[in-house]
Structures are given as C-alpha cells and as structure tokens.
Amino acid sequence: MTNEEKLQKFKALQELINGPEADEFLNYWDGRFFTGDMTFIMDNVPFNMFFYKGKMIDVFIGQPSNGYNVGISGDAEQWNAFFEHRNFQLATSVKHCDRPFTNLGSALANRQNNAVIAQVARLTAKAFCD
C-alpha cells in the first residue's frame, strides 16, 4: 500500500470515528476527553490525527507542529501483527510482545489517554482491513 493509499484509509477512519463509532468512542472509550494530536507512525511515515473533544478534525502525513503528544510507532511487520489480533494492550506490552510498538510522547500522556489511543488503533485496523 502506498502512503497515499494509507492516508485514504485514515480518512475512512475519520468517517468511522466521527460517524457510526462516535457514540462508543466518546462515551465508552473516553474519547470525549481527548483534544490534541495523536500520531501513528507506520514504517517511519507519520500519520497525524488531530482531535477536538473526541472528534477527528484532520489527518495528514507529517509530524505534529508542537512535537509528539501521544501515539505509537511500528514497522510494517508490527502493524500487520496488530491488524491480525487487534489487541492494543498486547501490541504495546513489553512483557508479552517480542516487538512492541514504541510510544510517542510522554509516558504520562499515553497513560492518561490509554483507552482513547487503544480504540483509535482498533478502529484503524477496521478501516485498513475490514
């Protein structure tokens, strides 16, 4: 998949998060508390999403202007493994994953937004694969 094709998948993710998945995302997964940048790096290419109170406003290829806030980074193999099992906790576990995703931003910010990032990652898998 080219980077442009991946960007289109993130646009589809935007439709999902702001549409049919909105209620669950906002209310069950704490999405309503999240405002700011969330970046997923796929094979060294950053895809940056900006959220305002749980609504995805924008997504583009590039780094956030103020530096990484929260997110995860992995190569193609790591992302494919995640897309297969869709277990965010396993994919980021230093205990149980041989090659866990790398966290972007501070440990504190990622901890604060753990549920939000997890759900966005799962919906990314949905947008990419389903």
Partner: protein
C-alpha cells in the same frame, strides 16, 4: 458485632450492614456523605450497640453494592431518595430514626417529607445545595485527574481540630478510595441538584440539626433559613459542636451518639 448481607432492591444487589442492636428500642438508618460507604458509621454502630439497631447500606455503585444497569449511579435527588425508601420497604424498616451527614444530611429532609420516620438528624446538611461548580463536576470523573488525589486537600480542610489521628486517617482513606463516577453522580448530580425547601413544612417529626463548629463549608448563616423552614417539627434542636467539622459521625462517633440519644430522650419525653 457488625454483620452484613446482600439484598435485591429494584433488581440491584445492595450491601447492608447492621450492628445487630435491639430493634425493639428503635432502628436508626444512616446516610453518608457523597461518594462514601457504610464504614462511615461503624464508630456509631459500635457506640450504640446496646441501645438501638443501627443499619447502613451502600447506595448503588458505592462500597459493595452493585451499580445500576450500564454501570451507572443514581444522579438525581428524587431517584436517590426514592431508592432509599425502596430499601426501607425491602428491609421492613418502619419508623426509622434517619441520620445523615453532608449529602446524607440533605437526604434526611427528603425522607421525613415522604416517609413516616420517628426522627431525623441532619449533620452538615441543608435543604438546598447548588454549591458545586461545573469545573469541579467535570473533573470528578476525568482520565487526567485522579479524584483520589484532587479531593485530598478539600477533605482534609473539612476535618475538625479535635479529631483523633485514627479517625482523621480513616476519613482521608475515604478520599483515597473515591470512585470517580460515583462521586460525580452524588456530588454533581444529587447534592448539587438538591432543593426540598418547599416541602420542609411537611416535616412534623423531631429534628436535630448539627453543625460542626470547624466546618467552613456550612456556616451558621446557611443553617438559619433551614431551621426557619422546619416550622412544623414537633421538637427542633440546633447544636453546634466544637472541635469537629464536616464528617461528624466519623470524627467523634461517641459524641454524636450521645448527642442523638439525649435529643431523642428530650424529644419523646
């Protein structure tokens, strides 16, 4: 000896504790402050073991009671108080002496307006409490703010000057075990929306209103209109107790128990 069991009320499993005291002398039901649970009244349960049966139960979502469907809690004054009345019916509690602290102190007024009670004791309570700002409410159940930390200083400021270390520690433990969504429902919903001023004249039972002298959150001025609205109470008392503040039953359970026993004796003489 305090023992507990579970009962089902409106489909919700509720945790109930009793001191197994003599019910023939009377039954006292205890209602705690926002977010808390039955252990707030253990000191009083012990103090009154030979005098009255003292019962406390955890509201839905509190302590060991299950939450409502959807992991929710009661978040309006009416639903909260009507649930209590349903618990009374399930436990066959008649003619209770209702005592409450803070939110529980408010609740006693509603109960006396809607259920036949023997007497009420409202500690740090009021009949109208729109006191909580939206900024506070929003942050009670927020991923970026641990209510178990944010509420420490506020709570510490509300403990009286004469309270033992042991009792102070346990009040603070209550903060450290706060449940965010429960606190938000209790404090932001039930307490903040509480207004039973119009029906205060319906209260005809004996009523004791207690203020801890160190309680900066409940001033004497705030209690005056409440006392005026209790115009039909058969025996109305107002007591300001030195050295204690907002969490009366925990701060000095022996003192509170003795004050209540004397009040009942005087009211029913």
């Amino acid at each position: 000896m305090i023992t507990s069991r579970y009962v089902s009320v409106n489909g919700v499993t509720i945790f109930v504790e009793t001191n197994n005291g003599p019910r023939e002398e009377g039954v006292m039901c205890c209602f705690g402050s926002a977010g808390r649970e039955t252990r707030q009244f253990h000191g009083m349960m012990d103090a009154l073991e030979d005098k009255l049966e003292v019962i406390a139960f955890d509201m839905p979502g509190h302590g060991k009671s299950w939450p409502l469907e959807g992991l929710k809690c009661l978040d309006t004054p009416t639903s909260y108080c009507e649930f209590i009345i349903d618990v009374f019916k399930e436990l066959n509690i008649e003619n209770p002496i209702c005592i409450g602290c803070a939110l529980g102190g408010n609740v006693c007024f509603y109960l006396a307006q809607h259920y036949p009670v023997r007497a009420i004791v409202s500690m740090a309570g009021t009949d109208y409490s729109p006191f909580v700002s939206q900024a506070v409410i929003d942050n009670l159940d927020h991923p970026y703010a641990s209510v178990q930390h944010t509420h420490i200083d506020f709570t510490d400021s509300l403990i009286g000057s004469n309270v033992s270390k042991e009792n102070r520690d346990f009040i603070l433990w209550g903060v450290m075990t706060e449940i965010g969504r429960v606190k938000r429902a209790d404090y932001g919903g039930v307490y903040n929306g509480f207004d039973v001023r119009e029906d205060m004249k319906k209260i005809t039972c004996p009523a004791l209103v207690i203020r801890g002298a160190d309680d900066w959150s409940e001033s004497e001025e705030m209690h005056k209109p409440v006392l005026e609205r209790l115009s039909n109470s058969s025996h109305l008392e107002y007591q300001v107790l030195p050295g204690i503040s907002h969490y009366n039953p925990q701060e000095d359970p022996e003192l509170i128990s003795n004050v209540i026993l004397k009040f009942l004796k005087d009211a029913e003489a």
